[in-house]
Each structure stands twice: as C-alpha cells, then as structure tokens.
Amino acid sequence: MSKGSTIVADGLRKRYGDLWAVDGVSFTVGEGEFFGILGPNGAGKTTTLEIIEGLRKPDEGSVRLFGENPWPRNPKLLPRIGVQLQASSFFEKLTAREQLETFASLYGVSTATAVDMLELVGLSDKANTRENKLSGGQRQRLSIACALAHDPDIVFLDEPTAALDPQARRNLWDVLRAIKARGKTIVYTTHYLDEAEILCDRTAIMDKGKILAMDAPATLVRGLDAPTHVLIERGVLALEEARAIAGVEEAGDDGVSLRLSTRKPAMVLSTLAERGALEGLQVRGATLEDVFLELTGREYRA
C-alpha cells in the first residue's frame, strides 16, 4: 500500500457470460480525494464500484481498501466505508429520521451523528416525513445521508445525480462539496460529464470495461489540444472577415451567432477587440465530452 492511498485497484477484471464488464481496471485513490468514475451506461462503473466495496469478487486482479482485501466480506472494513447503492434502499414506511437512526444503529453508532447528517443534506425539515413521500432529489439526499450515518472515512456513491432535475442536481452538488469539506474520501460514478468536471479532483473515463483516461478534468481537457470556440453576435462581422482573422481555423454561421474555432484564442480575441467586434462574446473551451469523443471516436451518449 502506497502511503496516503485509500484504494489501490490493480488489474480488475469481471466477466458476465461472454462479456467482460470490467476489463483490466487499475487506479488508486488518495485520502480525502473526490474521485469520479465517468462513462456511459454499461461502461462497467457500477461493477467496478461493487468490487471495491467488497460486494463482488473480481475474476482477476486485486483490491486494497485501507490496505485490506474487501473480499470476502471484511467486517473490519465495513465501519469505515459508507455506500449509497444505485436504487435508494430504504426501510419501508419509516421516516427520514428513523431511516438514519436505523442505519446508524447497524454500526452501533449513536443516533446523534445520524440526525446531524439530515442537516448536512438539508433535510432537517423532512425528518418526520416517510421515505415514500419524499421527492426524487430528497430521496437521493436521504440515501446519501444514510451512507454517512456511521461517519465513515470513505463514501461510495453510485450515480447519485441520475434522474434528477437540474435544480435538484445542483442542490446535491452542494451536499457533495460539504461532504468533501469534512475530509471524507469520495468515490462516485456519474454519466454527466459536465458534473464530473465541476466536482471531481480526478476523473477516470470508462468505456466498455476499460479506463480510457484518468487525471484531473482540467488536465484531461488541456491535454486534448482541442480548439476553443469563440462566439460573437451575428452581423458584427462578416463571415469572410471572420474567417480571415489570423489563428481562426474554421468559421461558421449558425443563424444566431458566428462561431470561430481556434487553438490560439488570445490572438483571435485581441483581433476581435481591436475591431470592436465583441458584441455577445462567448468563449467555450473544450469539455470532457470532447475528450470522450477524442478517446472513443464517437459522440458521448449518456
């Protein structure tokens, strides 16, 4: 175990029938890190997570979690890990507070921490509401609170933001940031590339059971050498003029704005400024979607 590494996964493979759901996955996660596993549905994210949590035995490869093997079920590790499963797994008919107290007591922990977690996820006012009366976003937050009820060192969150409306997703991001601020290590899966870019310290991009790239999101994007898109209001500049600007590789008119693609945005922007043609300026850098496109040769479809 390398110092400071919470997870060391090495060469994990798991087969379902003829399909290698996880096909040679290796990575390490440091203490206090927010690590995202990113990829479309069926990429092998959940299986990878389940192997690390000790729910599944890898066919090949090894895992060390806090230096211990999580498989077979390792009771020494269990109090240190918190898991939110993909389905929100609640006890039937119990209120939010009762869920948390029940989960906390499974670990022999005082229920005070549990109630504290309700506040962390912003559900204090829903403490006496039954699980089935909560909205989708509230259920997700409660399920994260349940994963934290025993104050674990590391939390695994499987697609916590899936199927949430934009507002609920944003609320959840605040919750995730608050968890990180408490010094917890977070490993989470998502198929939202934009979200991973905003939240994660490091991201592994997975597709078809393999990790295609792994680094800080900004580094991944920077390493891409993808063009920056500069958008200005249509009519400020003729399309031909725009195309002639030094550094512009491509220019197009989508009927609303002029779109200039460049790898030298500073140069292009100063030229536009000189000509007083910055009306409605928008600058869009490459995103993880471009990284995914580059790595797989296909558009990203969650």
């Binding site: 109090p79 890990i81 389905a87 929100s88 609640f90 499974l106 670990y107």
Partner: protein
Amino acid sequence: MTAFRSLSVAMFKGFFRERVALFFTFLMPLMFLVIFGLIFGSSSSNKTKIDVVGDGPVLTALNNTGIVDFQHVDSFDKAIAAVKNGDVPAAISVQGNKIELRYAASDRVQAGTVQAVISSVVDHVNLAASGKPPAVTLDSQQVEDSSLTAIQFLTPGILSWGLATSAIFGSALTLVNWRKKQVLRRIRLSPVSTGTVISSRLLVTIGTTVLQAILFIAVAMTPVFGLQLAGQWWLALPLLIIGSLSFFSIGVLVGSIAKSEEAATGITNVIVLPMAFLSGTFFPLQNAPQWLQTVSEVLPLRHLNDGMVDVLVRGKGVEALVTPTAVLLAFTVVVAFAASRFFSWEDS
C-alpha cells in the same frame, strides 16, 4: 440501540404502518371466526320444531324434555297441512285424554325421534296415573364428551391458521421487499450478522403471533361467541411460539425462492390454504377418510391445531404439548436447512 433492537423496531413499524398487512393479519382471520362462528353456532341448538294444538300435562312433560320446540296453532287441520307442506316434521293435538300425532313420511329419523319421545312421555303419564311402581327403572346421567361446540374448535383452528398465514406472509414479504429494494445488500455492507437479521424478524413474527392470539381469544370469549377456556390455557403460549417458529422458517424459505412480492403471495397461498383445510382448521377431521388424516399428520398446522385445541379448550396438560412440539421443531429444522440453501442477499 443495538442492531438487533433497531432492526426489530424498523420491521415492527414497517409492518404496523401497512394497512393491508394489518387487515390480513388481524381482521381477515377475525372475519372468518365471525362467519364460521355464526354458521356453525346456530346448528348446536337443533331442537325439533313441531306444531301443537291444545294443552295438558302431556305437553308440559314433553316441553320439559328439551328436545322439541312448540309452535301453537289454532286447528289440527292447519297443523297437518304444515306437515304435508314439509314446514314441520310433526304435528300433535291434545284434546283431553286423546292425543293425536301426525308425522312426515320423508324424514324418518326426525319423525322417529318425535314419535319415540312422545310415546315415552305418554307412557310415563299413564304410569303415573295408574299409581303402580314402575317394573323397570332407568338411571341416566349426562357425560361430557370430547366433541366440541363450534366456537371451541373454531377458535384454536382459525387462530392457528391466522398465525400461520401472518408468519409466512410477513417474513416472506420482508425478505423479498428488502432484497428487491437492496436493503439486504445495504445491511450486508454493515457489520451486522445474518443471525441478527433473521432473529430480529423472528422476534417480530412471534410478537405479531402473540398479539393475534390475545385479540382472537378476547373476541371469541365475548358472550356472542362464548368461548370457554380450559384451566391450563396458558400452555398455548409456548405452543404459539414454537408454531410461529416453524411457519417463520417456511416464510424464510418462500422469501428466499420468490423474486417478487406477487410470487411470494402466490406461493404462500398455495401452501397455506390447502394446509388449513387438511389440518382441520375450519371443521373437525374425524369424519374425513383415513388417508386424508394420514396426509395431515405431516403438516405443521395439523399439529399446532391439535395442540391448541387440547390445551385451550379440552383442558389437557403439558403432556399434550409433547407431540406437537417435537413435530414442529423437526419441521423447522428441515425447512430452515432448505431455506439456508436458497437464501441470497441480492437478486443475481
């Protein structure tokens, strides 16, 4: 709170907050008790109704036998018409010393009973009038037999059936639901042992059973039903617990095999209903064919039923618990072993 206690509390709350579960556990068996109690209850006071015309010492003596029930009519012709129509099995007319009896030809047993009763009353009156001592004396006394009034066998029977149903349903549904919603998996990720999960569910099952028994017996003891408990009725308590243990093991087996709540419900019904009928829950088995009685010997409900009848109403002692306890425990061991083979924490 310990994991055992909080899991039990969670299951108790989940159960008692579910109206459908409450209905099937408490109300439906009670409905059966009421329905069967009313159906069978009326048949135990089966006096023969006869039409009578006139009055006299013979009729008074006849009334005191407690076998017939009088309906007074104005004329003997009317009474005979009623016999012809099949409304009453017999009609009797008393005019001074002349007694006339007309009985229906169709129901020989009933007509014979009426005829015999009336002629014995008439002989008795004649003998008394003659002033001679009787040549032969008859000494007859009532003996308490083991055939029970309806409520006495219905209460232990339906109670046994009710607790079998709720123990199997309850535990099977908890398992299926928790597996489907990944609660079992989530519990598996906490340092709680399998034994804790199973034993907390068992505690909830036994608790429910005891509540059912209290409610049931309380209702059956109301004057409407008139259940009489035997002296050592409290021996039913250990029997209830052992009984729910064995039905709990069936429930765990069903919950391990079934993948959905619907499947669990279906399998439970397929097990419980035939078992209830074969075990003498709703009617006594003594008139059933021998082979059927033999089949019923292997059913846990049969033994729970027998034990309950023995200690609750027949007034038998601890010795009546020996066979049911042995059979139920053996059954539990076998089924629990099978359940442990099939049990899984998650849908694969």
